[in-house]
């Protein structure tokens, strides 16, 4: 009985609302205070994410088809640009290999332990969660591919965010631009260590509580410092747009632009910990 019955044999709508409302409140309290429903959430996600991926499939194919019919001239231009880019990267990589070798030698000389490396796993974005409270994406790699919660996620240009939930065949990435996310960084120009946080806006990051005499200027580039043990050092995070002098507070504030091209790519890289080779 959905409407108010003429003779009360069923539970009335008001009592029903009270019962369901209390049940939902209890669920929310149990979920947010004790995290007791994480198992339920992950098993439901394991069911829902394949459905999502299947639904996203035709749209991906549509996008691919649109690319297929794109202009020939544009493709030729793109190919030339890619070739040039490839040569440039190859040259940089040679340099890098030499530097890496030198670094290892020097580390061995100083008796420092080798740095932990990372392996990149490519993943496809299957869905952007319509959540008014955090900026989150679903990607199509999960614990079956060795993804763990807390691993950094990057795109071609810089740090994108962090894996926050892992399911068997999918995981959820929370973007650095969510306002509760932060990353330890250093200023590439002078090594100044800072913490960059999200603002909740798609294309802005900020440095809160910045010392008013700190040497930070517009156009400074911020890279991860690796001090938190979550993000490996050296990933590009942001470029400083402006530094606001303190107003009514003892701290200044810097507005930055994220290096990652958020919302422009369909693929991301998850940085996995490199497996230690067992020494015979």
């Amino acid at each position: 009985m959905a409407h108010a019955p003429m003779f009360a044999r069923a539970i009335g709508p008001t009592v029903r609302l009270a019962m369901y409302g209390l049940a939902c409140l209890a669920l929310m309290v149990v979920d947010s205070r004790y995290g007791a429903l994480n198992a339920v959430r992950s098993s439901v996600a394991a069911l829902v994410h394949p459905v999502q991926a299947a639904l996203a499939r035709p749209f991906d194919l549509l996008g691919d088809a649109a690319e297929f019919f794109s202009q020939h001239a544009e493709l030729v231009r793109e190919k030339r640009r890619m070739a040039a880019e490839g040569e440039r990267l190859a040259a940089l990589l040679q340099d890098r290999q030499e530097l890496e070798a030198e670094n290892t030698r020097l580390r061995a000389l100083l008796d420092l332990p080798p740095t932990a490396g990372t392996v990149a796993v490519a993943a496809r974005i299957t869905r952007i969660l319509p959540d008014p409270f955090a900026r989150r994406l679903v990607i199509d790699r999960g614990s079956a591919d060795g993804i763990e919660p807390g691993r950094p996620v990057v795109d071609a240009a810089g740090l994108l965010g962090q894996v926050t939930a892992v399911y068997p065949d999918s995981s959820v990435v929370t973007l650095l631009t969510s306002s509760e996310q932060a990353a330890p960084v250093l200023n590439l120009r002078n090594g100044l260590r800072l913490i960059v946080s999200g603002t909740g806006a798609d294309s802005l990051l900020e440095v809160r509580y910045l010392d008013m005499h700190a040497d930070l200027k517009a156009d400074d580039v911020l890279v991860t410092s690796g001090l938190d043990g979550v993000y490996p050092p050296g990933l590009q995070v942001a470029r400083v747009l402006s530094v606001e002098p303190p107003r009514q507070t003892p701290f200044a504030r810097a507005i930055c632009q994220p290096a990652a091209e958020i919302g422009q790519h369909r693929h991301v890289l998850v940085l996995k910990a490199k497996k230690e080779e067992p020494t015979p």
Binding site: A2, H3, P13, C24, R41, L55, R127
Partner: protein, 180 residues
């Protein structure tokens, strides 16, 4: 518009109320529509199709859709979102309660009249979800999502026309002209 209105439902409405298959099938399709990969820039505009269609069936098929179904669908929406479990559940329950209370009144309006009356309910549902999030200390409530309530009321227009056509529903009643 004719002023002639029958006092009891006539035609297909009386003979064949909307079948459960239609009710649950359309709700399942709507739930799948919310899972589609909507472009990231306009997510705050995407209405909750499940809620719109649920409201339609709460008004027009009370034998198949009630507050219990609303609770179940709300919890399903929570599960699909991966957020706080019970958040959408509570919002759906409150919405269903309001719609059930207003059912008799809503029945007598045109599609557009019903949309106008449902608009504050849809807006209230979005506001309730955001307020629950704030109460439970979720970061960063994005108030632009209120606009989805407005879009939901706009979506009501084509969807209600479609389902009115499918179920043969009409709010035009027939009164014997003898009174004149």
């Amino acid at each position: 518009m004719t002023a002639n209105r029958p006092l009891v439902p006539q035609g297909p409405q009386l003979v064949a109320p909307p079948s459960r298959r239609l009710v649950y099938g359309s709700l399942a399709l709507a739930w799948l529509a919310t899972l589609l990969p909507w472009p990231g820039g306009m997510l705050w505009l995407v209405p909750d199709f499940t809620l719109v269609i649920l409201c339609y069936w709460l008004i027009h098929a009370p034998h198949a859709a009630g507050q219990g179904l609303a609770l179940v669908l709300g919890l399903l929406a929570d599960a699909a979102l991966g957020g706080l479990i019970g958040q959408q559940g509570l919002a759906y329950s409150v919405t269903a309660f309001l719609v059930v209370q207003l059912r008799r009144r809503l029945e007598n309006f045109e599609v557009s009249g019903r949309a106008l009356q449902l608009l504050p309910i849809f807006l209230g549902q979005q506001a309730l979800v955001l307020l629950i999030g704030l109460a439970f200390d979720l970061p960063d409530a994005d108030w632009r999502h209120l606009a989805a309530g407005l879009v939901a009321a706009l979506c009501w227009l084509p969807l209600a026309h479609l389902f009115d056509r499918l179920t043969g529903w009409s709010n035009e009643m027939f009164i014997e002209p003898a009174a004149r």
